[in-house]
Amino acid sequence: MDKAISVEHLKFAYPGVDDTPDIVVFEDLNLQIKQGSFVAVLGGNGCGKSTLAKHFNSILLPGGGKVYVYGMDTSDPEKLIAIRRCTGMVFQNPDNQIVANVVEEDVAFGPENLGIASPEIRNRVDRALKQVGMYSYREHAPHLLSGGQKQRVAIAGVIAMEPKCIVLDEPTAMLDPRGRREVMDTILKLNAEKGITVVLITHHMDEAAQAQRVVVLHQGKVAADGTPREVFSQVELLHSIGLAAPDTAELCWELNKHGFDLPLGSLEPDECAQILYEALKV
């Protein structure tokens, strides 16, 4: 199985309250995500990124079209548990997804629900906590941890279920810069070392730049899709849908308006500096 997630002609609308019309989110969305890839989904407010994420493990069901997760139809109620086992989900607010009042008990929550034998749960919990670097905190109370640590516990809780894919819905939105870096490092490590497919919903350009592929959503449609370099060099397009490119691309773009001819694909400050150096050297 090569495809992790496949969205085919997805239609979805939130029902309107009382007399207000339904709020249409997707009319005909198509998207494929490969097993083992790291995909960032970008978009402004209300473009449907979170709604899309909720389709990936049957929290929301398509109003039309199909969503397949590892070949399983998300609208098939019998596949529900199997789908949720395959795709774990991490949400924005770390406080509202931690169930137990001891870190290791919380990580054990998922495997316990799956009915796994006790010694195996212990192994998985220890392994998951080590992978996110929270093993030494296993007996702590979650409310005493920092935001980044809590979010890493939430990620451990998901990987203890050994999913093939993790969907993260703006996991860093409520964190300080240090917490964001901790979480991003954890995600990158899981993707590189364990081969877990990662779908990262975000509105931080620098986070999206670390992915292998960036999908930009706008008004329920895919506005741009490609490697971070390809997507972020389309600065005008990003501006037209209310997004900003990473600072490096923005800088080169502004300079190009004043007569330079710089490539826009640089994502790292060092790389951008090198480009500027080359341009100014002559």
Binding site: R85, G88, F91, Q97, V99, N113, A117, H143
Partner: protein, 268 residues
């Protein structure tokens, strides 16, 4: 100020009492309470007291924390003591003021009643001081699980308890934040009479409730995502196991109850 709120205070430790299975501790506590209520004489009270004192000594919990926990009970203790002191009929009148008299029986009875409440509360404190809340809910769930047969939602209740314990500190923190935010807008919580103060709480409670409902909603989604389907087919990471010391403790508790029963049989 709200940071001081502590519920189900737990003192981590490594004593035998700490290591006992939560089920053992719960059952022994029930046995202890029964023994306490069966006790009628100085001697039987003494036996129960020795049991409690030895347990506290083994647990290594400082006595100070028991006294601290006792403070909110002062009123009930005083009330019980005074009521028994003045309203027990007896023959040996010690003091007589107008129509109220204090008898020797009254003094003894008041002493026993206060002592009984004190021992009862201290015993329960010993349980919560030596058992983590999560172990306690696990133990309760295991002990109550036979009631599942009569459709009592035992697992759901213990899950609810566990989540409530988890969210107490989060909501306390949130209340603190809301209070600061409302104070910054000129809300006044510290002055005025009782009615005004209660009214001043409304702007705290409304946002707190809204946020609690939102949290509940998000938590429910997160739990569903982690394949939660209720108690059926669920396993536990930490299995409750009885060890030698559990059986030993049962033996001691059984001896305690027998001793009190025998003493009662002899009218002591």
């Amino acid at each position: 100020m709200l940071k001081d709120v502590t519920l189900g205070q737990f003192f981590p430790g490594k004593s035998v009492i700490h290591r006992l299975d939560p089920r053992t501790k719960l059952l022994i506590l029930v046995g202890y309470i029964v023994a306490l209520f069966l006790a009628v004489s100085w001697l039987s009270y003494g036996v129960v007291f020795v049991f409690l004192a030895v347990s506290i000594a083994i647990s290594g919990i400082p006595l100070k924390s028991f006294f601290k926990g006792m403070k909110p009970l002062m009123f009930i203790l005083l009330f019980t003591g005074i009521l028994n002191l003045f309203f027990t009929q007896g023959e040996t009148v010690l003091v007589q003021i107008w129509t109220i008299s204090i008898t020797l029986e009254g003094v003894i009875r008041a002493f026993f009643m206060v002592f009984r409440i004190l021992m009862l509360v201290t015993g329960t404190f010993l349980l919560t001081y030596t058992t983590s809340p999560i172990a306690l809910t696990d133990g309760l769930e295991a002990l109550l699980s036979p009631l599942k047969k009569i459709k009592l939602p035992v697992h759901e209740l213990s899950m609810m308890m566990c989540i409530a314990l988890r969210f107490i500190p989060t909501l306390v923190e949130e209340t603190d934040k809301i209070m600061s935010a409302q104070k910054a807008r000129g809300a006044d919580f510290e002055s005025g009479n009782l009615v005004q103060r209660v009214k001043a709480l409304v702007p705290i409670l409304v946002p707190l409730f809204i946020s609690a409902f939102r949290r509940a909603d998000e938590l429910a989604t997160a739990m569903e995502c982690r394949c939660y389907q209720g108690g059926d087919g669920r396993t536990k990471m930490k299995l409750l196991r009885m060890h030698g010391c559990d059986y030993g403790s049962f033996l001691v508790a059984a001896l305690l109850i027998t001793a009190v029963c025998v003493l009662r049989g002899f009218g002591l």
